[in-house]
Symmetry: C6
């Protein structure tokens, strides 16, 4: 048997691919976690945008916390012409907010009210097929959990979500919330990190009364990855990781 | 595509605008959080008052914790002639306390008893339209949650609140409570900060058996903001931030 | 508009008034919090006693934790001739203990069994009117909460209590319990401090295996107050604050 | 009015009376708290025994955690001839264990099964009257709470217990459990210390991999008491406090 | 009255008896507590084995966590010929596992299914009488609690268990679990230590990335015992305490 | 009686056997615990793979968290030709994921839907017998607990699981999750470690903003084992322990 080699998906985050043998394993599910404002949404939007722009991989964003229009504006603020790729059918944004708050959606893709996890996955699958997506992001797990009223058996839902996504073959990023990762709790429900195949932590560290951003690859199956805390910034072009920088 | 630029709303807090590219993004929702006495109510009242006084932007204050008359007196104590602007239709204070405690309100604007979140938003919308408000503050989230008996699904309520407020187009500040932010918990329910588009923390730090105030911008979407802890004071003219000061 | 000035109520605690612009704002509600034995009851009893003795302001004490007779004896132990002022109609002590434990009260003023918050407030109001009280203390919030079986919606009860007391126009002190204020929790239910208009913490600090008392003004609306930890003592004449002392 | 002076009850603990103006205030209720093995039972048994032996004050011990015979043997182990005083009607031990475990009691005084707090207090009252007791100890509060199935409204039960005991006029010590007093939690239910009129903490401190005992008077109403941590020992004659010793 | 002297039971643990006036008080109940792998089972098995081997005191082991055969093999691994003493009727092992997991027991002594605390105690009593046991160990309290479905009123069950065992006159060791004793919690339910008459803690301390074992006598009624942390080891002959060693 | 000697099972983890007298006791149940990404799955897969490859011991893997195909690919990524051994009937992978998420399984061995603990054990037993397995791993306990809906009485389920596995005679590793072992909590439910006969912790320690892996043998019955924290790595050949390395 020749040693199995893993195909890599470029993340589109400058500085990151080198830390993980060239990118995420194709078809895997990665969790991006961190406190509020740590850069999770920017990270996952960049993953999809750069996939379309640089690597010709269509991608789907399910936005459950922000309105599609806000996300779009934020992306444009980084100089990313997301509308162009939406028109070209390279990017699809699924509006998961409107129906949740009882408003009609003006988006092309939008979740209906009253979905369960199967219905949610069926809709996502259809959009993935529509644009032949290779990348998918779901922002965020707590928002799904609450929207689907599935907080009580979150682990089962995540196992189902994760498994079906793996079956779809897309490379997926899920986000979750970690209030205070220094105390060991990496996620809101304390189980998300066990279900995902990779875990990337975005966090702050305080130095001289100033918060500094760092990124840590906590887990990446099938990958010899760095385990250092790397400084990163959110620049006017998006997330940039500094593999040779020091956070202290 | 030309890079999207974000219109800024001046906060009316001396020293703050420079830390956030000139002000809050127009139409955004910001959370102001901190322990008791940290200055949240002063901050949000000043945002509305200075909006009317300096920038000709009418504003609405929903007060759910203090009687309108107490808030008014506090504002006058800072030399702010709030009554004048109320008479001119530039400021509206919505009394959210009277009906909650079973007293008749003597205020022009007052919430009724037995509201749900939709009724609450409808009333706020009507007042916003009445004075053509560009600014809105709701003081505070825990008080709404309890008043609307919505503590159990606070996240959904906040998503709805936040989304509808964004649809209204006003620039909004919500307040919440953070008992001990040093331990990573930024808000009473642990979810407010994820729903809001910006988060400003007002807090105390102890130095030589004396408490010092500081302000930290924890999150501000679409904004390159500072991440330092800045000293601030509540002077006889209200909140003042010292961008070049040191808290230690 | 001339800047609004706030009338001040002398506290009767030596050393304190200078730290808060001359006294509590007239008509306000202040929370005194701290662990057991920190001096809360002494503080509030002194506020009422000195009000009657020095400032000719009648006052009411609602005692829900100690029998009226014990409180009276404690006060006499500080050389305060409380009975004289009771006879003169300058001080009224409301016995909130007897009915709670199923004993008949021998006091002139006593709460009945089976009260709700409205009934409680009605009774207090009547006594306040009877002696034309300007000062009121309720010792303590947890005892009311339990007596009225209102622990589950304590925040609403406090809002009601606080608002009605403000309407009465008396200057009020409420007490609550804080087991370990160093950890950020300032009160038993974690909400008392948000409802009150002022918060004074009485606490201990350990120095050389000895506990030292300190006082900290955590919040005082409409007031430029000190934020230092001041040493205080319970002397044979009651509470004395040392504004120029050091707790370390 | 001449300053009220408080009659003092000698505790029978060598070294302690000097720290509290000569003894407990006559007729008060004191809480002795601490972790397991800290000496609570020895302390309270000594209080009753020495009361009978040295001060001619009869006393009652309600033992709810240990069998009367075990307690008696422990006391005899300190050279205290408890049986003699029992025969002389100076000490009464109420067996609160037998009925709780479904065994017939061979003791003269024993609680019945299925008591409520009123029944409990009635029985105690009768025994107090029988021997004209001036001292009473109840070891321990958690055992009563569980025996009377009153853990859910412990605060009310304690208020009742405390008030009725004060009415009886005996000087009482109650014990409770504090797993880790260093963290601020002084009692099992977090309320016992607020209801009692005095609080004495017995605890351990670690020094050079050895535990040392210390005693701290946390509260004593009507008393100018020390607030230092004093070393104490359990010697072959019982508890001895060293007012001039150092715990470090 | 001549001072009462307490008969001592040799523990069979080298180095321990000297620290506790020669052994456990005859007929007492001792709690051995600590985290997993700290040596609790070895300690209690040795107590029974050495009782039979060296002091001619028959003993009973109730094993609720490990199969009798595993315990037996572990004991034999320390060179203890437990089978010989079982055949001689000096040691009885009660299988508390088989019925709990729905397997038939091949042991001579085994608990039945569906027992309550009375049934449990009756069976234990019968076996104690059968071999005239002077020593008894029950390994462990959490296993009984769960097996008897008595976790909710564990304190009452322990009081009953403890009292009946004291009535039996055997010297008993109970074990329980303490995840992290450094934080003050000495037992799983936080009540076991209060009910037992003695408490011995077996624990680990980390020194230079290596865990070291130590033993601490936290409580031993009727005994002047050491309060130091002593190093101990599990050697190929069982538990050995080093009274003159240092854990650091 | 000659001292009983324990047969040892080689773990297949380089560096580990020497720390535990040559391997796991034959027929024992070991718990491998640690946070996400600590190497638990790699460790247990290696145990089974190396058992088949090097020691001719067939083995069964029950995978409840990852799809069989993912696990297989991960193993192949370490150069382990798992398919070959599956074809030879030396390794069996039981798919515990498909039915849990409602997908048909394409695996030869797969759990059915709606199992209880007995059904689960019966199926595992059948597969063990089918390939005459000597080794078994179940990855992971939380996944079983949730799948069998047995979180509420996890301890009983574990006792049953553990006992039946011991009866089967296979040497078993179970995995569980420990978010932050430094705080003393070794497992998700806080009970797994008490039921298992051995406990191995895989964890991270931070040194110079980099995470380092270490392994600690917390418990191993019938074994004189090291209690040091050893550095280990996940290399391209799997887990390697460095018995002479230093983690600092
Ligand atoms: N143009 C920009 N320049 C610099 N930083 C920005 C810019 N836009 C946003 N940010 C930063 O990004 C943060 C929001 O990141 P986001 O991805 O929404 O975080 P999360 O999803 O983790 O809450 C803002 O708080 C701000 O610090
Ligand atoms: N005139 C004043 N001068 C200085 N400080 C003041 C003045 N008025 C109020 N403050 C300060 O403001 C605090 C109250 O701030 P507030 O905005 O009500 O806080 P929050 O809403 O966070 O509880 C008071 O505790 C006091 O410290
Ligand atoms: N005459 C006195 N001299 C000095 N200290 C006293 C005197 N009387 C009471 N104290 C102190 O006051 C404390 C009780 O204060 P109190 O106001 O009842 O506290 P709290 O209500 O916060 O429990 C006692 O514990 C004691 O330390
Ligand atoms: N004769 C004695 N000599 C010295 N210390 C003793 C003696 N008898 C008991 N002790 C100590 O007293 C402790 C028990 O004290 P006790 O009053 O029962 O504590 P608590 O009631 O707080 O659990 C024992 O653990 C032991 O340390
Ligand atoms: N022969 C032996 N030599 C040295 N140590 C041993 C031996 N047998 C067992 N041990 C140690 O004893 C521990 C198990 O002790 P045990 O009494 O079962 O602990 P507990 O009951 O507290 O979980 C093992 O983890 C191991 O460290
Ligand atoms: N080929 C490899 N080289 C180095 N490290 C690897 C390799 N494959 C996986 N890893 C490491 O193994 C980790 C996953 O280990 P795993 O056994 O799945 O952990 P757990 O089951 O404890 O979550 C990855 O996060 C990565 O750090
Ligand atoms: Mg986000
Ligand atoms: Mg406020
Ligand atoms: Mg008090
Ligand atoms: Mg005791
Ligand atoms: Mg054990
Ligand atoms: Mg795993």
């Amino acid at each position: 048997m020749s040693r199995h080699t893993v195909e890599r998906v470029k993340t589109g985050i400058p500085g990151l691919d080198d830390l993980i043998e060239g990118g995420f394993p194709r078809g895997t599910t990665v969790l991006v976690t961190g406190p509020t404002g740590s850069g999770k949404t920017t990270f996952v939007a960049q993953f999809v945008y750069k996939g379309a722009e640089l690597y010709d991989e269509p991608g789907v964003i399910v936005t459950l916390e922000e309105r599609a229009q806000d996300l779009r504006r934020e992306m444009m603020n980084f100089g990313w012409d997301v509308k162009k790729y939406e028109e070209e059918g390279k990017i699809a944004i699924i509006d998961g907010v409107s129906s949740a708050v009882g408003l009609p959606s003006e988006e092309r893709f939008a979740l209906e009210e009253g979905l369960n996890i199967e219905g949610f996955l069926r809709y996502v699958y259809r959009v993935v097929k529509t644009i032949n997506a290779r990348r998918l992001v779901v922002d965020s797990i707590p928002s799904i959990a609450i929207r689907l009223r599935e907080e009580h058996n979150i682990r089962e839902v995540l196992l189902k979500l994760n498994t079906i996504l793996l079956e779809m073959g897309v490379t997926t990023i899920l986000t979750t919330e970690a209030e205070d990762p220094k105390r060991g709790k990496l996620s809101r429900y304390g189980v998300e990190e066990y279900v995902a195949r990779g875990v990337i932590l975005l966090d702050f560290i305080e130095k001289d009364v100033e918060l500094k951003r760092y990124l840590l690859i906590r887990k990446m199956r099938e990958t010899r990855h760095s385990m250092k805390k790397y400084p990163f910034e959110i620049t006017e072009d998006g997330v940039v990781v500094y593999p040779s920088g020091e956070i202290y």
